[in-house]
């Protein structure tokens, strides 16, 4: 049975110049697999993630013909209904731990919170669960990190804390929205490896949102390419090189090669791919 079924998802925002549609009829059928969503800034990939989590409040509007998470209809689900799902059954890792962790709350407390909202646990059991999850994201001295504030840890460590916070309740679906783009290249692989390991071991569904084609191709089973609010390409990760849509071809062509001889990378011909449609 599929974990997430989305048909014709649309996200709209009213503006002074009329309504703008940022996601234009997206459909996903996700099992407990790893799906990559690639696209440039403004292609609607982050909005898709947020719409699935019910995080788009007024004045934004989310509509779909079908929006089901594990058999639960998310359309018109109340805020308190979403609150029960968030953190416990679906969670989201965000881009930059510098901004996504609360600066004045200790790390241990921030992770413990996720437990607190969903379970009645004695303080000691909660603390133990936090230590365990910190270890699970390969933090060697959880006792110390537990007491630190977010500004006292590095970006890579911060993102591991973020992941710990999001998997502590063993959700079924994890959305990772550009989880490594704010990190140093040297720690990206580690963070992705930890994420991937947790996702596989706990049998979670993963939606990895990124603008990095290579990264998505490497860590995902299936890929959606979004452009201007629409899915323009859908294929298995291994078949990316055989993509047919001109936008995807353009993206692939502009990936620099190690033994590069070109002096200029090709520029996307947006007229040819129908920009803004």
């Amino acid at each position: 049975m599929s974990l997430l079924r989305v048909e014709n998802l649309r996200v709209r925002f009213p503006t002074d110049q009329g309504e703008v549609e940022v996601v234009k009829g997206l459909s996903i059928d996700l099992g407990r697999e790893r799906l990559g969503i690639v696209g440039e800034s403004g292609s609607g990939k982050s909005m898709t993630g947020r719409a699935l989590m019910g995080l788009i409040g007024p004045p934004g509007r989310v509509t779909a013909d079908r929006l089901e998470f594990d058999g639960i209809d998310l359309r018109g689900l109340s805020e308190s209904g979403f609150r029960k799902l968030r953190g416990a059954r679906m969670s989201m890792v965000m881009q930059d731990p510098k901004f996504s962790l609360n600066p004045v709350i200790r790390i241990g407390e921030q992770i413990g919170e996720a437990l607190q909202f969903h379970q009645r646990l004695p303080a000691r059991a909660r603390r133990r669960a936090v230590m365990e999850v910190l270890e699970a994201v390969r933090i060697n001295d959880p006792e110390r990190v537990y007491r630190l504030y977010p500004h006292e840890v590095s970006g890579g460590m911060g993102q591991r804390v973020m992941i710990a916070m999001m998997v502590v309740l063993q959700p079924d679906l994890m959305i990772a929205d550009e989880p490594t783009s704010a990190l140093d290249v040297s720690v990206r692989a580690t963070v992705l490896e930890i994420l991937d390991d947790l996702v596989r071991r706990r049998g979670m569904g993963l939606i990895l949102i990124s603008h990095d084609l290579d990264m998505v191709a490497r860590w995902c089973d299936r890929i959606l390419v979004m452009y201007a609010g629409k899915v323009v390409e859908e294929c298995a990760a291994g078949d990316l090189h055989a993509a047919t849509h001109p936008y995807t071809r353009g993206l692939l062509a502009s990936v620099p090669q190690l033994n590069e001889t070109r002096t200029r990378l090709p520029v996307l011909d947006r007229d040819a791919i129908g920009a803004g449609t």
């Binding site: 995080l55 965000m94 901004f99 996504s100 600066p103 004045v104």
Partner: protein, 348 residues
């Protein structure tokens, strides 16, 4: 130099922060003294003339000038001034005929009492109002709070004071009239702190306490209303900024209830900014609200300073300025200490 000093034995200990606190406060205070000293020299008021009167002969004038040390080099005069101030000698007030220090010890507590009550009202009511306005942005509650805030800016203090007196004192007799206490109890409470509410409690005189309270409640509420308007407005804008932060989304993603999002994730980070705002408005209130003090015949520092200014009573003006400056220094240092307590990023 600071680094070099820091390395020397005793200061490398735990007392170091305290030591530096004292040093910075002392230097700031010295700067404040320099400013009041210079003001005292540049104002077109001749201190000699003030003493000898304008009918004195040339010789008397010169003798007085020498006796007052105004012939000495500036730096000597400044040193003498600093020494005097440090020993609590602020000179004699021409207006009251008493030492300025004595006057200030009498008028400052009156202002302190009213300002403290005012800022407590401002914080206790204003902060939750601002938080609620931000949490319910755009709703009628938000609108009501914004109009109240605007009123706090637009309504003149003296008008609110007079109308308050007319309604609550003259018409309904709910509060006491002008002054700090009913006239027949004036001066009956032994002075300990100068704060009538506290002194009357120490003396165990409940009648005096009730009277003092009925007198202070209206002016303090009006002061409170003005600081409340400001504090609520600032709290609202700080909160709105916080609610747009990424970590608020993180909290939502974790399934945090709205109450936790507002009070833990958004409110905790703004406490530091709020301390600045509250500290500054408290300091502003401690300057003494001349309007309110005049309308309520409140013998506070604002009244004292204004009267002194109008009478060209320079010792009193400088003394009062010094006290107000010292209050600002104290509140700033106090806020610094609180920052460190409340914001982990400010702890070095």
């Amino acid at each position: 130099m600071a680094d070099a000093l820091r390395r020397i034995g005793p200061f490398a200990s735990r007392a170091a922060p305290l030591f530096w606190l004292v040093v910075t406060v002392a230097f700031t205070f010295l700067g404040l003294l320099a400013i009041t000293f210079v003001i005292g020299r540049v104002v077109p008021i001749d201190p000699v003339l003030a003493v000898v009167g304008d009918r004195a002969s040339r010789e008397t004038y010169e003798a007085a000038r020498l006796a007052m040390g105004l012939d000495d080099p500036m730096i000597v005069q400044f040193a003498r001034y600093v020494l005097d101030v440090v020993q609590g000698d602020l000179g004699r007030s021409v207006g009251t005929g008493r030492p300025v220090a004595e006057d200030l010890a009498r008028v400052f507590p009156a202002t302190l009492e009213m300002a403290t009550l005012g800022i407590i009202i401002g914080v206790v009511v204003g902060v939750p109002m601002g938080v609620i306005a931000a949490a319910r942005q755009g709703t009628w509650i938000d609108q009501v709070i914004r109009v109240l805030g605007l009123a706090g800016y637009a309504i003149p203090a003296f008008w609110l004071g007079l109308v308050g007196l007319v309604i609550f004192y003259a018409k309904f007799r709910l509060v006491g009239g002008p002054g700090r206490i009913d006239i027949f109890m004036d001066g009956m409470v032994p002075v300990r702190t100068g704060l009538l509410l506290i002194d009357s409690l120490i003396a165990g005189d409940m009648r005096a306490f009730r009277s003092a309270f009925s007198h202070i409640v209206l002016p303090a509420t009006i002061l409170g209303f003005f600081s409340l308007a400001y504090i609520a407005r600032m709290t609202r804008s700080f909160m709105l900024e916080q609610l747009g932060q990424e970590y608020i989304i993180t909290a939502r993603v974790k399934g945090a209830p709205e109450r936790v999002i507002i009070w833990r994730h958004a409110f905790r980070p703004i406490r530091v900014q709020l301390i600045t705002v509250i500290g500054l408005s408290y300091a502003g209130l401690l300057e003494g609200s001349v309007m309110i003090e005049t309308v309520f015949s409140w013998p506070g520092i604002g009244n004292y300073l204004t009267t002194a200014l109008l009478n060209a009573d320079m010792n009193a003006v400088l003394g009062a300025t010094l006290v107000i400056g010292a209050v600002f220094i104290g509140i700033n240092k106090g806020s610094d200490l609180l920052y460190r307590l409340l914001d982990p990023r400010a702890r070095a």
